[in-house]
């Protein structure tokens, strides 16, 4: 792939740049959250249900217990990004391992691993995630593990397909003739050549992971002592007749973050395949 052309194509994609900018703000917010809002974002700091822009102390208002919405939002970015990235990373790692072994060895190994993949594709992911959390107990880490365990089938299939075609190539035969072991051939020879489509799929998985995390924490299955966007939306539910902004604001944060990840992913896809992108 032409490295220079790739960067140039990405840099001229306005959508991708906008996505990168939004994502930059969210990442920055997550990093500086403890500096901007040193206290616990779940502490009661003011009068309940002050509206956004009513007082300069609480630019986004307070919720029904008098907690600062902006502090919750900024701290919530940490949970969302942590779970999104860890879960997606875990899913891609499992997917690469399963797909690489299945595609490289073929035969009954492939058969067995593909049946396993099919099994995970047959069970509705969100319901399986509920079952996994029921076993592990609620919490940020169990949410991340559960999402990783229900999201690896896509990467596994793509990795397998790449390995199936790449293992026929001459450089693999050459490496084998040189006496390299299976592990070396899989991870050092084939995998680097198979990574591009997996990385592109990665953005889709991060976006989906953030959305699943928000749904799970909305249902109260994350850690109740950690501020999350989904939990803030759930808190707003009790007061949405009078103060709908309490639910609306964190929802917008999720929307913008997932949109940004998708836009960056689109940019990567288009830059990687200049011909099959937009006409």
């Amino acid at each position: 792939m032409n490295e220079r052309g790739f960067k140039q194509r990405f840099a001229t994609n306005r959508g991708a740049l906008a996505g990168l900018a939004i994502l930059g703000v969210v990442v920055l917010a997550a990093i500086v959250a403890p500096l901007l809002f040193p206290g616990d974002p779940l502490d009661i700091v003011g009068r309940p249900l002050t509206e956004p822009f009513e007082y300069w102390r609480f630019p986004l208002g307070t919720d029904r217990l008098g907690r600062d919405m902006l502090a919750g939002l900024v701290h919530g970015a940490r949970a969302s990004l942590f779970v999104g990235l860890v879960a997606a990373g875990g899913a891609i790692l499992i997917g690469i391992l399963v797909g690489a072994v299945a595609g490289y060895f073929g035969g009954w190994t492939d058969e067995a691993l593909m049946r396993l993949t099919e099994t995970f594709q047959t069970v509705p992911g969100f319901i399986l995630a509920l079952a996994l959390i029921a076993v592990m107990g609620p919490g940020v880490v169990s949410v991340a593990i559960a999402i990783a365990l229900v999201s690896w089938t896509g990467p596994a299939r793509i990795t397998r397909a790449e390995f199936l075609s790449l293992k026929q190539r001459e450089f693999v035969a050459a490496s084998r003739v040189l006496g390299n072991g299976h592990g070396y051939i899989i991870f050092r020879e084939i995998l680097p050549n198979a990574l591009a489509p997996i990385i592109v799929l990665g953005s889709v998985i991060v976006a989906a992971a953030i959305l699943i995390e928000s749904a799970l924490s909305y249902l109260g299955l994350s850690d109740p002592n950690v501020a999350t966007w989904g939990q803030m939306i759930a808190n707003g539910r009790a007061v949405f007749r009078s103060a709908w902004y309490v639910s609306a604001i964190p929802g917008f944060a999720i929307l913008l973050t997932v949109l940004a990840v998708s836009l960056v992913g689109e940019g990567l896809t288009d830059a990687a395949n200049p011909r099959t992108g937009r006409r």
């Binding site: 047959t122 069970v123 969100f126 319901i127 509920l130 029921a134 976006a207 639910s247 929802g251 006409r279």
Partner: protein, 340 residues
């Protein structure tokens, strides 16, 4: 596929034979998957802290050691793990999913009672998503590269990024609380005496907002797939021929491109079914619809793992069935597919 000696026979017979082969092959493929799911369920049951007897004792408010050990023996929980697995499989094959702690009813009864509501919600969501997604995808592909196309694609990305449960809440705020046009929650008016068409209308009004909340993400997905499929077909040689023949743009789009681009979408319907079922968990919870999604959520909250795993099993069977139906439909729509 084995050679069919009576190829000259009636078309209906031929198709019946082909469908039969397809069903048999799909069921053979599904068998190891079902077995793996059951084994997985069993492992989860074993990993969870406490067993069915603990859960039962907790709900009745405690019991002495004698009762506990008698119950354990009754359920086979004092046997070695491999015997327990055998018992579990044997029960699951007969669809005996045990008792739900929360409702004190058999899990299967609970699931079957709630399934119609979930299926109704999913069916209306899929219809909306498929219809609107195809229409928008066609519109975008026909204007590829122009501002209208960019607008549709961007809108699709925004819709895809919107959490369905949050959209549902916002729709409730607008249409149920502020405007008071549509009911707030539930599947129908509680304790109403409506019958016939009035009841149908009542249920339809309750379904509007949940359907929108569940469907919008899939509108975005189908729109993208349809657009990409249309663009792919537009690039094929026979379309150039059609253009050279002097056919109108409309005729090319609707008679030549659309039928070819829509076929792969049918497969997607089957593949997305499981995700849709998962999505209805949170939508049913937002709108308090008594379906299996809400039952799944209630089971997590009340720590009733057995019911939850029953739902996992039944929903997997449902996914397998729906995919089989989609495959059969596909084979009928596309005669080139030889039960592949």
């Amino acid at each position: 596929m084995s050679a069919s000696p009576d190829r000259g026979g009636r078309a209906a017979d031929f198709f019946a034979g082909r469908a039969f082969v397809l069903i048999r092959r799909r069921l053979a493929q599904a068998l190891p998957v079902v077995l793996l799911i059951l084994v997985g369920n069993f492992v989860l049951l074993k990993l969870a802290p406490g067993d069915a007897v603990d859960a039962y004792i907790a709900t009745v408010g405690g019991g002495d050691i004698g009762v506990v050990s008698r119950l354990r023996a009754e359920y086979g929980l004092d046997q070695p793990a491999i015997v327990q697995l055998g018992l579990y499989l044997w029960k699951a094959i007969r669809l005996d999913l045990g008792q739900a702690v929360l409702y004190g009813q058999p899990v299967l009864t609970l699931i079957l009672e709630r399934l119609p509501n979930t299926l109704l919600l999913m069916l209306s969501a899929v219809s909306l998503a498929f219809g609107l997604g195809v229409a928008l995808g066609v519109a975008a592909a026909r204007r590829a590269g122009r501002p209208e196309d960019t607008a549709i694609v961007t809108l699709g990305l925004i819709v895809y990024a919107t959490p369905g449960f949050w959209l549902g809440l916002m729709l409730i705020v607008i249409f149920s609380v502020k405007l008071a046009w549509l009911p707030l929650s539930g599947i129908e008016t509680i304790a109403s005496t409506l019958t016939g068409w009035e009841r149908v209308l009542d249920i339809a009004r309750h379904l509007v907002l949940p359907t929108l909340s569940l469907a919008l993400v899939y509108v975005a997905i189908y729109m993208r797939l349809m657009r990409a499929g249309m663009l792919e077909v537009y690039g094929l040689d026979f379309i150039r021929t059609a253009k050279a023949k002097g056919l109108t743009d409309d005729r090319i789009a609707y008679r030549h491109v659309l039928p070819n681009a829509i076929l792969p979408m049918v497969t997607m319907l089957g593949l997305q079914f499981g995700t849709l079922l998962g999505g209805s968990v949170v939508i049913e919870s937002v709108f308090s619809i008594p379906g299996i999604g809400r039952l799944a959520f209630e089971s997590v909250v009340s720590r009733d793992l057995n019911t939850l795993l029953g739902i996992v099993f039944m929903s997997a069977l449902l996914v397998i069935t729906v995919n089989l139906i989609v495959d059969l439909l596909y084979a009928q729509l596309d005669p080139r597919i030889e039960s592949a």
